[in-house]
């Protein structure tokens, strides 16, 4: 679990903007994976199987988010230290990227995060999202076009 925790939380956050909601979804996914472990085929890679559960858990949570509140992490355990993205410029860019991501359709967000951040192949993502491989390529293309523009605009003034 330790190995996939960050990845699962990033993928969940690609669907759910709120980090606490994303953590709840990632937790749901890990517990669901534990229950479904007998269904996992050990001849196949574990990551795509788990990320499929994470994506489904995040999507489910987004659908019922209006009636359930997120469970925050224990503040005593979290501590008050700075987050990794608190350095001013990076923090601002990260916020703009999150906003840009949020404007993308959910499937597009997942596709670009799974491909460019998590390094899964188009075929693996197609299996996770249950869509054709060509559609994954198209979704990654459209997401990149928008996010690249944002990055280029950000780079221009500096």
């Amino acid at each position: 679990m330790d190995r996939y925790a960050e990845q699962a939380r990033r993928v969940a956050r690609a669907v759910l903007r709120d980090p606490d909601d994303a953590d709840d979804a990632a937790q749901d996914a890990f517990l669901s994976a534990l229950v479904k472990l007998e269904q996992y085929d050990p001849r196949r890679p574990f990551g795509p199987w788990l990320m499929r559960i994470v994506a489904n858990a995040a999507t489910d949570r987004r659908r019922r988010r209006s009636v359930r509140s997120a469970e925050p992490l224990d503040p005593g355990v979290v501590g008050g230290g700075p987050r990794p993205d608190v350095v001013a410029e990076r923090s601002a860019l990260s916020e703009r990227l999150r906003q840009a991501l949020a404007e993308l359709p959910e499937r597009r967000r997942l596709a670009v995060v799974l491909f460019d951040v998590e390094g899964y192949s188009h075929a693996e993502i197609a299996g996770m999202l249950k869509i054709p491989e060509g559609t994954v390529r198209s979704e990654v293309f459209h997401a990149r076009r928008k996010l690249r523009t944002l990055l280029e605009d950000w780079r221009e003034p500096s």
Binding site: A5, L97, V112, D116, R144
Partner: protein, 121 residues
């Protein structure tokens, strides 16, 4: 962004990937892992509770179905089987099959006088 990358490039865009990774970076890794691990035990116990509740409901439903089936079976028993020999004989010779059935299926022995009176010389 790297200039050489085409829109349908099959390689991950490392610069965009790094920027997105920073943007989506989760905080408090250890707290998250600890929280999930603390739920693992309760989830296993919870799943047994769910199964137990399903079993209870299943048994209740099975008993209801059995009871309903038994009652329906009692109601659907043919009426001829409950007729007594006397009633069958009153119906007349055309229903001699009914008399035979009443003798076979009857829960009490037929009155001998009725049997003998039905015999014709």
């Amino acid at each position: 962004m790297t200039e050489h990358q085409m829109p349908f490039d099959h390689q991950p865009d490392t610069e965009l990937g790094d920027a997105l990774r920073r943007a989506l970076a989760p905080a408090a890794h250890d707290a998250f892992v600890a929280r999930v691990m603390s739920r693992v035990g309760t989830t296993r116990a919870g799943s047994w509770d769910v199964l137990a509740s399903w079993a209870g409901r299943g048994i209740a439903a099975a008993l209801l179905v059995l009871g309903a089936g038994f009652a329906a079976g009692r109601l659907m028993q043919p009426a001829v089987g409950t007729a007594s020999l006397e009633e069958a004989l009153v119906m007349g010779p055309a229903d001699s099959g009914g008399a035979a059935t009443a003798v076979v299926r009857g829960s009490r022995p037929p009155d001998a006088s009725v049997v003998f009176s039905s015999l014709r010389p």
